[in-house]
Symmetry: C2
Subunit: 132 residues, 2 copies
C-alpha cells in the first residue's frame, strides 16, 4: 500500500495526531486533505487543512513555529495518521502553550491549566486568543 491507500472521510479529510518526536508530547490534533498530505511529504514540514478557514495551512506560517517531519505513521484501519515532528520555537498551540492539550480535567469537574505559557500570543498574532 501507499499514501494513496489512506481512507479520507466523506469530507476528504483524515485526522492527524501530531506528536513531538523528542519528548513524546501530543501537540495537537489536526486534519489533512490530500493536498496537505502531499505538501507535507514534499516539503518535510507539517501542512494541514484548516476547517475553520477552509484553506491549506502550513503550521507556523505566521508564528514561525513550524514542524519538521520526523515520520508519518498510519493506523490499522488506515483512517487516522500519526505525524511525529520536531516542533520549532517551543510552543505548538496558538494560545502560547507548548501543546493544545494544556487543560486537564480535575476531580471537581473543572479544567485546570497544567502547562505554562511558552510565549505571549499577543506579541505574535497581535491579539490574545480566548483560552478560558
Amino acid at each position: 500500500m501507499s499514501p494513496a491507500d489512506i481512507r479520507f472521510d466523506e469530507r476528504g479529510l483524515v485526522p492527524v495526531v501530531v506528536q513531538e518526536a523528542t519528548t513524546g508530547a501530543v501537540l495537537l490534533l489536526a486534519y489533512m486533505n490530500a493536498e496537505a498530505l502531499e505538501a507535507t511529504l514534499r516539503t518535510g514540514r507539517a501542512h494541514f487543512w484548516s476547517r475553520s478557514r477552509a484553506r491549506l495551512w502550513r503550521k507556523g506560517e505566521r508564528s514561525g513555529r513550524e514542524q519538521i517531519v520526523e515520520g508519518l505513521y498510519v493506523n490499522c484501519e488506515q483512517n487516522s495518521l500519526l505525524l511525529r515532528v520536531h516542533q520549532q520555537g517551543g510552543a505548538a498551540c496558538h494560545t502560547g502553550h507548548p501543546t493544545c492539550f494544556y487543560r486537564k480535567l480535575a476531580p471537581d469537574g473543572s479544567w485546570q491549566v497544567v502547562e505554562e505559557w511558552d510565549f505571549d500570543p499577543a506579541e505574535v498574532y497581535g491579539r490574545t486568543p480566548s483560552r478560558d
Copy 2:
C-alpha cells in the same frame, strides 16, 4: 468550564487521542460521544463510540486489554481530547501490535511495519484481522 463544554461534532462525537501515560506512545485515535465520555469518567476505564458497530465500546471488553485512565485533557478549541491511560496487557491494537500506528511511511512510498506483534490476535479474537 466543565465536561459539558466539550464541542461534539454534528455526529455527536469528539476525537480522542489515547496515549500511554508511562511511555508516551500514541496508542490509537478513537471517538467518544457523551455517553462514552460519561462512562469513562465514571469508571476510570476508557470507553469509546464505535462508528463501525454503532455502539458503546469499552476498550478491552473482549481482549481484556483495558485502559485505566490517568487523565483527560481538552484542546484549546474544545473539539478534541487527549486521554492518558495505563494500557493493560501490552498491546492496544486489535491486530496485536502495541499501538495502532505500527506502520511508518518509507522513502519509497511504502508503509513498513515498525512494531513487533505483542500477541497473536487469532488467539484472542478467533481470527486474524487484516493488517497489510
